[in-house]
């Protein structure tokens, strides 16, 4: 029995980290779509609807908070959104939660922890 992989949109401007997380998430069983800035995220969301979004807060063009706002208020999507934030960026995290983010994880990121959080959010759906 072959299970269809969950589609995950990973938005991270750091290519190395994005590559590392991409590798870990794909190894965890997800179909990962990489986006290196906010504009790419919006472009992707015009044509696709992932099962979950993992987005860094600080990104070019559109921040992670704007991505959440876009998903919740413009696209009216109720898919889970996990925010990756830098340590000490509590205010942005709270703003993201107000916009409708489901969870957050702070840098330095533990890839294994992120994998667990993604699975938990998808399990809630």
């Amino acid at each position: 029995m072959i299970l269809e992989k969950k589609h995950l949109l990973l938005a991270e401007d750091d290519e190395l980290l994005a590559s590392l997380l991409n590798y870990r998430l794909e190894k965890g069983g997800y179909k990962v779509h990489l986006a290196y800035d906010g504009r790419e995220v919006k472009e992707f969301l015009k044509e696709h609807t992932p099962d979950i979004i993992v987005s860094d807060i600080m990104m070019p063009y559109f921040s992670g908070i704007e991505i959440v706002d876009h998903v919740r208020n413009e696209l009216n999507l109720q898919i889970p959104v996990i925010i990756i934030s830098s340590a000490g960026n509590e205010e942005n995290v709270l703003n993201a939660f107000e916009m409708g983010a489901n969870d957050f994880i702070s840098k330095p990121v533990s890839p294994s922890e992120l994998l667990v959080r993604v699975g938990r959010e998808l399990a809630k759906m």
């Binding site: 590392l20 330095p108 922890e113």
Partner: protein, 870 residues
């Protein structure tokens, strides 16, 4: 332009000649240099861009490979294992190129900042597995400081513990950047690095470096800090300072002696840090050292030192702190010393600067200050002093307003009560005091007109509590009377005692005089009934002033009393509608006021005695009061009594005899009670007070005093006036059961009763009651001698309250107004005035009267309900 042209022509011959060829050649040279500079910049830019692009491209290629190595697990498929082995081979080939090695190092350095957990440890292992740390070791041998620093940083971030031995050599490097980087690496790579660092550090450790080192130590996992007290003896001051901070951070309180010794260090930073440690670890033994070194310290150290003394010190440190406050010139240190004093002993030093001087708060003074009239205090003082010789002067004082007199008099009484309360020697109540207190009684009865279950509260505080209410009521009444009273009465004529008695003894006004006495007695009775016997006073229940029958402001008729015209008390008008709705009452009251208006005011006295008809007794009392001629007399009970009794007799002869010549009816005798009975009952009060004193209960004595004064007339008198013959017969039986000597007089009056049965039974009851009273008198005669010792001392106390209540005697009445009663004359007992009455007889009378008063108080609600029900 002309000037410039002229200047050019003037300077042209002085300009040197330049060879055009040379100029051209220079132009070519500088143009070539510019082009070369641009070419070089362009080339280097392209190289950097190309390199960055290559690095980025290589990172994209190596990134997945690194990820594969980081997350590779053994339980994967064979294909994945094959791929993993293939990647190892590929990366071995790549590592042969230095560029790739550099890119790999950059990738690992970048990733170690962004990832955590197990992946991060794998990354450290990968760094060493790929042999990249060997490159860093080679860099440590470089002669370029930046290479060495970069290598130390790389080894430190990638946690190559093997580099510890190489890096620790750079702790005392002459180059600051390398030295600091080596210190950080030494501390972070191994736990024992801090020990090595503290042992070997020779250079200065900056504050920033200390913070970074402390942060590195805090982040070490499973770090067991050494005992940093070992470095308190280091030669490097910064090592000592850093050790002190570490001691404080890790709370190593096993170096108290060293800390105390370091307080004497010549370095202020070490001193401050040592003092902070002493404060943190509460080293009481250091207090003496702290005080010793204080005077040689800098202000910054003194501040910390004083703060520590404040934290650790007790009261015995206050002298030192006060000395610091006195001797120290630095403002901040002096302030800190004061702060320390207040910390040790709060509120020891109070603010002094910028504090305006005010007198101590005095509640009584506040009361007086709120009263507009200025003479209240003087009057009060004279009343308290009360020398007999100044009696006339006091009487001539400028009259006060109602509020002033109330406040002043109640203050005096409250003072007396306070004296009694504290067990101090009782004051001798002189004549003036009696007079004043009788006035107070009249005034306070104005405050307590309607009685439900209200007790007296004459304390100054209570007066103040209700002062606003009183003011409101007074103003309200004044205003109402001013508007509604068409007929005005000037009472200023009633100031003279002689004039008053002329008016009283005048047959034309005899009815009014009788009415006044009755009115007074009824008021007194009501007030005495409402007074709680022993349970104390009811402070919150002061009756309103609205029962007052006569209060109004005069429009000024008598120009001879200009000073009194300004005082509303001397200009009283009457509004019968306001006073009483009963027309008969109003007519009687108006006749009295008219008579008063006609009286002579040549010798005006206190208005309090005059402006209300029923205060006649107070006036008379003032006239015939015995005078203590000396202090010895005042202090001697027997002498005092004799003097008083003699004075009473003299006064009675002067006043009562002409009165008795003109009076024949029994009812008219009631008027005679006003003057002589006051002093007769004054003696009775003394007896009652002595009983009260034996019980050591001032309120009991006061109550008994009230009872004696208010029961001049039998309580059955009122009942007999309203009941039929059958009821009278029943009441006669009750008289036998509870009657006293007073009731004997009342029974005599029943000899003229219309009903024959009543007359007969009254005679029989009178005989039996007289026998009964005689038997009681014999029994109590034995006890009287023991109680007489206390009589005089209590006398002063009792007069205060007795005079208050002796003026009024009322009994309540109708549905609308408790004072709306049918005023009738009571039976007089004036012929009972006997200056030789024995103390035993007084006690007997007092005792019986007190019992009757209790009965009357208990039955008062029933009586009141009967009256209300018609």
């Amino acid at each position: 332009m002309g000037i410039l042209k002229f200047t050019y022509l003037l300077l042209l011959p002085l300009v040197p000649k330049i060879d055009a060829d040379l100029l051209w050649e220079l132009t070519q040279i500088f143009s070539g240099l510019g082009i070369i500079y641009l070419v070089i910049a362009f080339v280097f830019r392209n190289r950097i861009l190309h390199k960055n692009k290559a690095v980025r491209q290589r990172k994209k290629e190596l990134g997945p490979m690194i990820s594969n190595f980081l997350f590779y697990e053994d339980d994967v498929s064979l294909q994945e294992k094959y791929n993993h082995v293939q990647l190892k081979l590929d990366i071995r080939e790549l590592l042969k190129d230095n560029f790739n090695r550099k890119v790999l190092v950059e990738i690992l350095l970048d990733l170690q900042k962004d990832i955590s957990g197990d992946a991060r440890f794998r990354l450290f292992s990968l760094y060493k597995d790929l042999g990249l740390h060997l490159d860093a070791f080679q860099k440590l041998k470089s002669w370029r400081w930046e290479i060495i620093s970069q290598a130390i940083l790389e080894l430190t971030q990638l946690q190559v513990e093997e580099s510890y031995g190489f890096i620790k050599k750079f702790i005392n490097h002459r180059k600051g950047v390398i030295r600091k980087q080596a210190q950080m690496a030494t501390v972070s790579l191994k736990h024992e690095g801090i020990v090595y660092f503290l042992d070997t550090c020779k250079y200065r450790i900056s504050e920033w470096q200390q913070l970074k080192l402390l942060n590195e130590i805090r982040n070490l996992e499973d770090f067991q800090p050494p005992r940093f007290k070992a470095w308190l003896t280091a030669k490097n001051k910064d090592v000592v300072l850093f050790s002190l901070r570490l001691i404080k951070y890790y709370k190593q309180n096993d170096a108290n002696s060293s800390l105390i010794q370091l307080v004497k260090h010549n370095n202020d930073q070490i001193k401050i840090e040592a003092i902070n440690c002493i404060k943190e670890f509460v080293v009481f033994e250091a207090l003496d050292t702290l005080k010793t070194v204080f005077w040689k310290c800098s202000p910054s150290v003194k501040l910390v030192l004083l703060d520590t003394v404040a934290s650790l010190g007790e009261d015995n440190e206050i002298p030192f702190l006060k000395m610091v406050e006195n001797k120290e010139n630095n403002f901040m240190v002096k302030s800190k010393a004061l702060s320390a004093i207040n910390t040790i002993s709060p509120e020891t030093v109070l603010p002094t600067h910028g504090i305006d001087a005010y007198p101590d708060y005095d509640a009584s003074q506040e009361v007086l200050d709120e009263i507009p009239a200025p003479n209240s205090k003087e009057i009060t003082e004279e009343i308290v002093k009360s020398p007999v010789a100044e009696e006339e002067n006091v009487q001539k004082e400028k009259p006060l307003s109602i509020e002033e007199q109330i406040i002043g008099f109640t203050k005096d009484i409250a003072t007396d009560w306070q004296v009694k309360k504290e067990g101090q020697q009782l004051i001798n109540d002189t004549d003036i005091n009696k007079t004043v207190r009788s006035e107070v009684g009249a005034q306070q009865e104005l405050l307590f007109p309607e009685s439900e279950e209200v007790g007296f509260n004459l304390s100054e505080e209570n007066i103040m509590e209700h002062r606003e209410e009183i003011e409101f009521d007074s103003d309200d009444i004044f205003e109402a009377l001013r508007k509604n009273e068409p007929q005005q009465t000037d009472l200023t004529d009633l100031n003279s005692e002689e004039a008053y008695w002329e008016a009283v003894l005048d047959p034309e006004y005899i009815d009014e005089s009788i009415f006044e006495v009755c009115f007074m007695e009824e008021l007194d009775e009501i007030l005495s009934i409402t007074a709680p016997p022993k349970q104390g006073w009811a402070p919150d229940e002061i009756l309103p002033l609205d029962f007052l029958p006569i209060i109004a402001q005069d429009n000024e008729e008598n120009t001879s009393v200009q000073t009194r015209i300004t005082d509303p008390l001397w200009n009283i008008e009457v509004n019968e509608e306001v006073v009483h709705q009963d027309e008969l009452f109003a007519e009687e009251l108006q006749r009295i006021l008219n008579r008063i208006k006609k009286a002579d005011d040549a010798e005006q006295q206190d208005l309090t005695d005059d402006f209300i008809p029923f205060v006649i007794d107070a006036e008379a009392d003032k006239t015939i009061r015995p005078i203590a001629q000396s202090e010895e007399e005042l202090q001697s009970p027997e002498v005092n009594e004799d003097v008083q009794t003699q004075a009473i007799e003299e006064e009675l002869e002067e006043i009562i005899l002409p009165w008795e010549n003109n009076q024949s009816s029994t009812e008219d005798k009631a008027d005679q009670l006003s003057l002589p009975d006051i002093d007769l009952e004054y003696e009775e009060v003394v007896s009652a007070a002595s009983i009260g004193a034996s019980a050591n209960d001032e309120q009991e004595a006061l109550f008994e005093l009230n009872a004696v004064l208010e029961d001049r007339v039998s309580i059955f008198n009122e009942l007999f006036r309203t009941c039929d013959a059958e009821s009278k017969l029943i009441l006669l039986d009750e008289i036998l059961a509870v009657g006293d000597e007073r009731d004997l007089k009342f029974l005599d009056t029943l000899s003229n009763d219309e009903d024959q049965r009543v007359r007969r039974k009254a005679l029989a009851i009178a005989e039996k009651l007289e026998e009964y009273l005689n038997s009681i008198s014999d029994n109590k005669q034995e006890n009287s001698s023991q109680k007489s010792d206390h009589k005089t001392t209590i006398e002063g106390q009792m007069n205060a309250q007795g005079d208050l209540d002796s003026d009024l005697d009322l009994e309540g009445g109708s549905t609308e107004d408790i004072f709306d009663i049918d005023f009738q004359l009571d039976t007089a007992v004036s012929d009972e005035v006997d200056s030789d009455a024995s103390v035993q007889k007084e006690e007997e009378l007092t005792s019986s009267v007190s019992n009757n008063i209790l009965d009357e108080i208990l039955s008062f609600p029933a009586k009141l309900m009967d009256k209300l029900n018609g």
